[in-house]
């Protein structure tokens, strides 16, 4: 099998990897904010419920969660929510990743929001701003600046975590490389690593750019 053939096959797998990565971010970033608000709720039952949920999701291996999302609905309801097709497997993976990453993001948001000094809220209050205005006009930009470094860490971890989707037979890049391995060629597996490396390099540059953009002020 030629180098070009392998490259083309890996690229197909990497397309799936990137889709899973992008969809996870699109849904988990806003969902994480909602979970963060829940975990800071003044209403105790909701706060405890959300914190317990976050504990479970962060406390159990993502691999198990993938199995759980894909297989358990079918076992309980006797019907497949996620069809055993490539689309169904991919959707199940997106759902599992979104839930898992939203919980991690929620803790990053919570740290960012709780780190904003109370004086910022009070300054907004005495200037007659509504709660909404205080959050969106005063607090949010400061939270964004604070959470960029931990977010960049988590997002980079996500790039590589997508490889776990292969346990429910999502044909992402590592799965493609494993299939090639079964034909007794091992180098594509290491070659696949290069794809991740280049992509993470680009993300690192992007996050560096955002950090510099927000560097015009301190605090």
């Amino acid at each position: 099998m030629s180098f070009v053939d392998v490259t083309l096959q890996l690229l197909q797998g990497f397309e799936v990897t990137l889709k899973l990565f992008a969809l996870t971010l699109v849904f988990a970033l806003p969902l994480g904010l909602v979970i963060a608000f829940g975990s800071m709720s003044r209403w105790r039952p909701l706060r405890y419920l959300i914190r317990t949920f976050v504990w479970v999701i962060r406390g159990v291996p993502l691999m198990l969660q993938l199995f759980l999302v894909f297989y358990v609905p079918g076992m309980v309801f006797d019907a497949h929510i996620f069809a055993p097709t490539s689309e169904g497997r991919f959707t199940a993976a997106v759902v599992a990743f979104v839930i898992n990453y939203a919980c991690y993001f929620s803790e990053i948001y919570r740290g960012g929001i709780e780190g904003i000094p109370r004086g910022q809220y009070e300054a907004g209050q005495v200037l007659g701003m509504t709660k909404r205005e205080i959050f969106f006009k005063v607090v949010l930009m400061q939270v964004v600046k604070r959470i960029i470094p931990p977010m960049s860490n988590e997002v980079i971890t996500l790039v590589k975590d997508t490889a776990l989707a292969r346990v429910i037979s999502v044909i992402e890049i590592i799965k493609v490389a494993e299939q090639l391995m079964s034909k007794a060629i091992i180098w594509p597996l290491f070659y696949a690593g290069l794809f991740y490396l280049v992509f993470v390099g680009a993300l690192t540059l992007l996050f560096g750019f955002i950090e510099r953009k927000l560097d015009y002020y301190r605090g």
Partner: protein, 257 residues
């Protein structure tokens, strides 16, 4: 009837009684200095006036309008409180400027947001608001810092911006919570000078301060607080010259020696 009437304000946090019935009145254009050792309830009193704390008892009446009455059973709505607190402005000890905005935006942000809520024909133009920002900034002596960010300013300059920001909404009563306590000694002068210059016939001010010279020189009225009550009040001459209460005597002897 006095311009501002504060009646029987009580506030407790859990089991700690912080304010145990505070009464005073203030005329329009007067400057009131509140002094006393830390923990005496001065800051809590200011926070009650600005609706950052809700008193457990008492009334606050401004210009004949009851702004707060603890005996009212119905809790005031958010928007009600927002409207009422605009009668008061507050300058914080820690400035609390918005770090991500330029000095100009810090001053005009709240004006812009309120402006948006007005009916179209009453709205001010963008230029008018910008002009208001420049004018206020010149007034506190920082005309050239318009486009700087708070982190680029000294503490004294930041506090002057915070004063301009509080003035932008034209409050009836401007409150200062130890405006110079977070500053290096050589920077307190410029802030006190600005506050002194703000004194005018239609601007009522309440200043919680540890600067006794300032209180003596600028205030029309001085209140000495201890343990959540007003121990002594009167003109600066009365309070500083011939205090009657033992606590006031001890405090002044200690601080003025």
């Amino acid at each position: 009837m006095a311009f501002l009437q504060v009646e029987e304000i009580e506030k407790r946090f859990g089991r700690t009684e912080v304010l145990k019935g505070v009464d005073f009145t203030l005329e329009k254009g007067e400057v009131l200095a509140i002094i006393g050792s830390s923990g005496s309830g001065k800051t809590t009193l200011l926070r009650c006036l600005n609706f950052l704390e809700t008193p457990d008892r008492g009334r606050i009446v401004l210009n004949g309008d009851v702004l707060f009455d603890a005996s009212e059973r119905k809790k005031a709505s958010e928007s009600d409180i927002r409207r009422k607190r605009l009668h008061f402005g507050l300058v914080f000890q820690q400035f609390n400027l918005f770090p991500q905005y330029s000095v100009r935006k810090n001053i005009t942000l709240a004006v812009e947001l309120l402006n948006k809520k007005l009916p179209a024909q009453e709205r001010k133009s963008r230029e008018d608001i910008a002009a208001l920002g420049s004018e206020l900034l010149k007034r506190v002596g920082l005309g050239e810092k318009m486009d700087s960010y708070p982190c680029e300013l000294s503490g004294g300059q930041q506090q002057r911006v915070a004063i301009a920001r509080a003035l932008a909404l034209g409050p009836d009563v401007l409150c200062f919570d130890e405006p110079t306590s977070a500053l290096d000694p050589e920077l307190t002068g410029e802030v006190l000078r600005v506050i002194r210059e703000l004194k005018s016939s239609d601007r009522t001010m309440i200043v919680v301060t540890h600067e006794m010279e300032f209180a003596r020189g600028v205030a029309d009225k001085v209140i000495f607080m201890a343990d959540g009550v007003i121990e002594e009040q009167g003109t600066p001459q009365e309070v500083f010259g011939s205090p009657r209460s033992e606590k006031a005597k001890a405090f002044l002897a200690n601080i003025l020696k």
